[in-house]
């Protein structure tokens, strides 16, 4: 009989109780392709029934695993086939009822979020895609916890600038409809380039068409654990920093892998992937920005931030890959401003600005995330920010995204409170000079060269 040594056991307990170690989400992917129906009411009924039938035990199982292993599992979520592909078969112009069906199924199963009110339009828009996008403002303001995403670009297809222009207007409309909550609706909408089909993180999760009927994906977290580990290597070289991050990421991911396998076994649903992401929360001590500062930067956003983040992001992946039998999703350090205590502080101080965040997204996952901008920002400027972010993803063959909140009535220096894991967002400045003529040209930015990579 052997027992694991005391230090290791106490390490784990301390990681959970003091360093915010948790499994961020167990997410069940459900294909809705078999729910398509010419009658929209029948389609909505099938959608509701399939989700409830598939995920009725998800929350209970998650809670049991939490209790038995002593690991907090913060979210239990569902994501489904991009809704435009399912709703397209129905004879209707109004897709809001499909979002309502998702929200009802979400409430019945007791999960925290449901994602997949989505369309993939990187090359072009079908009638269904356009109807879905035009339904987003009403759908997200009339439902509670439905998340939407639209993929507007890819390395293979280029960037659909007509869709980018439409998304700028959609975001403005959605912000106006949820003005009483600081434009909260926009926190549930992500605009992607190179979206992945197995991402368990919200708001951008959807169940890709190449996936099985149902799947269990797990997203791990752990900025607090990495931060704590780095405190023990103060003054050592960056090689030591990278090794320390790798070892920590390995442990965190092994825990995620165990939870994923256990959930898959108990629910009788195939295990998909573990997403190796450092996902911060607004809690003190659970911040990605503070990790970068622990490496030796006075404030996140100053010179050196992109380099530090590149090291962190790569080391997390190297450590995590060996710990899991199947890695996927977004897998990288997230830098959502409103959800990260250190990012919020750096943005308030003015050190962290939109331009620096854009540079940071070249070396990490996943994009300009949870950023509040002035309420009077034009739709064209929002579209131009989205286009910049999509261009980074397109050229570098990586996923990028924008989740921007033009907070109605707010200006630079104000703060928008979203509460819970979504945190609070300091309103950040955008450039006042117009990009309207560029955005309004429409058309497509062609797919980039894949050789001559300079």
């Amino acid at each position: 009989m052997s027992m694991i040594n005391t230090t290791e056991i106490l390490d784990t307990i301390q990681m959970i109780s003091q360093q915010h170690l948790d499994v961020r989400t167990i997410t069940m992917g459900i294909s809705l392709l078999d729910c398509a129906d010419p009658d929209p009411k029948a389609a909505c009924r099938k959608i509701y029934e399939k989700i409830v039938r598939s995920a009725k035990d998800l929350v209970k199982t998650g809670e049991e695993i939490e209790a038995e292993f002593g690991i907090p599992i913060v979210n239990k979520r569902i994501f489904v086939t991009p809704m435009a592909l399912v709703a397209g078969a129905s004879e209707t112009d109004d897709y809001v009822p499909f979002a309502v069906a998702l929200d009802k199924a979400r409430a019945e199963t007791g999960v925290n979020f449901i994602g997949g009110f989505s369309a993939l339009v990187q090359k072009g828009m079908t009638a269904a895609d356009e109807k879905l996008i035009r339904s987003i403002p009403a759908a997200l303001s009339e439902t509670e916890l439905v998340c939407a995403s639209v993929n507007v670009g890819s390395t293979k297809a280029g960037i659909n600038m007509d869709a980018v222009a439409l998304m700028g207007r959609t975001i403005k409309d959605l912000a106006a409809r949820t003005a009483d909550r600081g434009g909260f609706g926009c926190a549930k909408l992500v605009v992607f380039c190179n979206a992945v089909e197995d991402n368990p993180f919200m708001a951008g999760a959807f169940h890709g068409v190449s996936e099985a009927d149902r799947v269990i994906n797990v997203g791990v977290s752990g900025p607090g654990v990495v931060y704590h580990a780095l405190q023990s290597v103060k003054g050592e070289s960056l090689d030591v920093v990278a090794e320390t991050v790798k070892k920590t990421a390995f442990r965190v991911t092994r825990m995620g892998q165990l939870v994923a396998q256990e959930a898959s076994k108990r629910l009788g649903v195939p295990f998909g992937i573990v997403d190796l992401s450092l996902a911060p929360t607004p809690a003190i001590g659970d911040s990605v920005a503070r990790i970068l500062e622990e490496m030796g930067l006075e404030t996140c956003g100053t010179h050196g931030t992109t380099a530090a983040l590149a090291l962190l992001n790569d080391a997390v992946k190297k450590g995590g890959v060996m710990a899991s039998s199947s890695v996927g999703g977004l897998s990288g350090a997230f830098i959502p401003v409103s959800e990260d205590e250190g990012m919020i502080a750096a943005a308030r101080k003015g050190t962290l600005c939109l331009d620096k965040l854009e540079a940071m997204t070249c070396v990490c996952s996943v994009g300009l995330d949870m950023i509040a901008i002035p309420g009077d920002t034009t739709a064209e400027t929002i579209s131009a920010i989205i286009a910049d972010e999509a261009a980074i993803g397109m050229v570098n063959s990586k996923t990028t995204a924008a989740r921007l909140i033009p907070a109605p009535g707010k200006k630079v220096g104000d703060t928008v409170e979203f509460g819970g894991l979504l945190g609070s967002a300091p309103v950040m400045p955008v450039h006042p000079e117009s990009s309207a003529v560029f955005v309004n040209r429409g058309g497509r930015i062609p797919a980039p060269m894949q050789s001559l990579k300079n």
Partner: protein, 89 residues
């Protein structure tokens, strides 16, 4: 099923006796105990077998936690797999 029970708190007379009494009442077999005083804190780690337990494991977790609270101790019971996963390749 094997689980790890950790007991951390201020040292007083009879901690081990009380935790063991609770475990035996619930039909849980103790396989190994390691106990030390770390920075003035009583720290005990037990490897237990819950195969013969009278209550479901999640219930046992609650019972131990509540008993700990009543004595000013932090008592966790977790499946052994989590520690193996995190610290062994």
């Amino acid at each position: 099923m094997r689980a790890i029970v950790t007991v951390i708190g201020k040292d007083t007379v009879g901690i081990i006796a009380r935790v063991c009494a609770l475990l035996s009442e619930q039909g849980v077999n103790v396989l190994d105990i390691s106990q030390t005083i770390l920075q003035e804190y009583f720290t005990m780690i037990m490897l237990v077998d819950t195969a013969g337990a009278k209550v479901p494991f999640t219930e046992l977790v609650k019972l131990l936690e509540e008993s700990g609270k009543a004595q000013g101790l932090s008592i966790h019971a977790q499946r052994e797999d989590i520690f193996n996963a995190m610290h062994r390749i």
